[in-house]
Amino acid sequence: MAGKSGRRSENRFIRYLILFTWALFCLMPILWFLSIGLRPRIEIITPQPIYWPSFSLDAWKMIWQDWPMAKYLFNSVAAIFGSVLIDLVLAIPAAYALSRFTFRGRDDIAFYILSTRMMAPAIVAIPIFFLFRNLGLLDTIYALMLVYAAINLSIVTWIIRSYMLDIPKELEDAARTDGAGDLRILWEIIIPAVLPGIITAAVIAMIFAINEFLFTLLIASTPNAYTMSVALANFTGGSDGVIYNAIALVSFIAMVPVFIVVLAIQKHLSRGLTMGAVKG
């Protein structure tokens, strides 16, 4: 019989090794980012390795002076929040219908929702392009809102629906015998009960919207509708070559609104997460 304490510490070592390897793999990009964004451009493009990097705010100055970054930031924020709002307005009643009422083809719809997320994004890019051209919405943030909303609608619906499935039917029966109609049940009972789910869905929709690149590139053809992520593309071409440290910094700025939102709703979000929420 092996001594317990000996094996315990050995186990602990293995655990930390696993976690360390894993964290390194996850963290790598961040570490690299830190090492690039705040260094002079000359150090980055030189092929020789640099062991003692110097510090510089060149890139920081450049992005604010040479480019309308504030405008891009506003476009990003407006398009993303607008799209999330559209998603919630459409998804909540649809999710309720999908979770509660029985009708033919209900399960097919559920499967369809998943499939749409499996399409390469380009598949939907083209038709949307034509649609907006015909509507005269090309190159506006309204077009971006609608596109982001369309991309995310199915997944937002799916998340909210799966939270609604967890609400006991009894709760609705109780509200009905208490005298409430369908709309009041949705508004007073269901929505408050799935609030963590709604918030989780909204955050995930935000993440997807921020990550969106191709559609934005297609729709936003002038700085009028440029978002942060497309603005980055500007740093990759042109006579100056790829301006890596500027890209790193702009990316960093793009994170700021997200972090503010996440901090503000953290309580609800973590409640959603501990409810076994973000299972996908």
Partner: protein, 352 residues
């Protein structure tokens, strides 16, 4: 203040039948218990009374008015659910107030009526809490207050005590009975627990596979069961049922022999005898059955004895001092005044 009539009520889902041809006349202020194993249709029957489930056939009347096509929200019925169904995002106060808001009771009355309802179930100190911060018993009482607050015509209770522990269940049982007596509201109560049914009910409806097996007072159900299902569902342990043959006034099967059976009983029958009407035979008493001891369970108050007599296991409530070793042979005496006979073919009671 309502009399409820169910006339030929049926519920089918496709080809499966949930409830078949239930006829009930529930009197004003009565406490009627629907009792049966899970899947017997008792909850479905209650949900049809509530208006939460559509009828496949038949009619429901309240005070003589048909309500079959009236939506749940428009019937004057309050329901208490198995899982309490408290609204998790509202405080206890808001929960109890919810039916008043929905029924457009004037706002000025709300505070007064909520407090009154809460006081009835001793929930006043907890009005500001969310349901998650309550214990099981407190949730149960909050759900009761919500049902009470608008003085409905009918109370429906769907296994309201099944999520509580044994001790709490007993005290809540008495509270519910007291409340119902005080408010004089017609109540339908669903349970699978025969003790709950026996102790609460004015009348019990025993259900099995969607149909009604027997309707009667607790005493009638216990001492005058209509068939083997009712006999075996009531009592803890339930009635011993021994299949055998009666010939010339003598009941016989392996290891069991009872004489002096009335003439009305002959042929293939099932003999029923309750565990408390069996005893370990003394030296001078008649021995009706014999078998090996299979289990001896002293509970302090009395001793549960099970004896394997041929193919039958007999449960006996022996007195608190009885002890014996597993495997011993023991002789059993029946109280011959308390024998029941059932037709072997269909399980129906044979009455003398």
């Amino acid at each position: 203040m309502a009399r409820i009539e169910l006339i030929d009520v049926q519920k089918r889902w496709g080809h499966s039948v949930g409830v078949r041809d239930i006829n009930l006349d529930i009197g004003d202020q009565e406490l009627l218990v629907l009792l049966g194993p899970s899947g017997c249709g008792k909850t479905t029957t209650m949900r049809m009374i509530a208006g939460l489930e559509e009828l496949s056939a038949g009619e429901i009347l309240m005070d003589g008015q048909p309500v079959t096509d009236v939506d749940a929200r428009d019937r004057d019925v309050a329901m208490v659910f198995q899982g309490y169904a408290l609204y998790p995002n509202m405080t206890v106060y808001e929960n109890i107030r919810f039916p008043l808001r929905m029924r457009n009771v004037p706002k000025s009355e709300h505070r007064h009526r909520v407090r009154e309802a809460a006081a009835m179930v001793e929930m006043e100190p907890y009005l500001d809490r969310k349901p998650a911060a309550l214990s099981g018993g407190q949730r149960q009482r909050a759900a009761l207050a919500r049902a009470v607050v608008r003085s409905p015509q009918v109370f429906l209770m769907d296994e309201p005590l099944s999520n509580l522990d044994a001790k709490l269940r007993q005290s809540m049982r008495i509270q519910i009975k007291q409340l119902q007596r005080k408010l004089k509201i017609t109540t339908v109560y669903v349970t699978h627990d025969q003790i709950e049914a026996m102790t609460l009910a004015d009348r019990i409806v025993v259900m099995h596979e969607g149909s009604c097996q027997q309707v009667g007072t607790p005493d009638e159900i216990y001492s005058d069961p209509a068939n083997t299902f009712v006999a075996s569902f009531i009592g803890s342990p339930p009635m011993n049922l021994i299949p055998g043959v009666v010939d010339g006034g003598v009941f016989e099967c392996q290891n069991v022999r009872v004489t002096g059976i009335p003439d009305s009983v002959t042929g293939s029958v099932t003999l029923g005898i309750r565990p408390e009407d069996c005893s370990v035979a003394g030296n001078n008493s008649t021995q009706h059955a014999q078998g090996t001891v299979y289990g001896v369970e002293p509970t302090g108050d009395l001793t549960y004895l099970s004896v394997q007599a041929g193919d039958n296991t007999l449960d006996i409530k022996a007195n608190r001092d009885y002890r014996s070793e597993l495997g011993e042979i023991e002789a059993i005496e029946f109280d011959t005044q308390r024998l029941y006979f059932f037709d072997s073919a269909n399980g129906m009671r044979i009455r003398a």
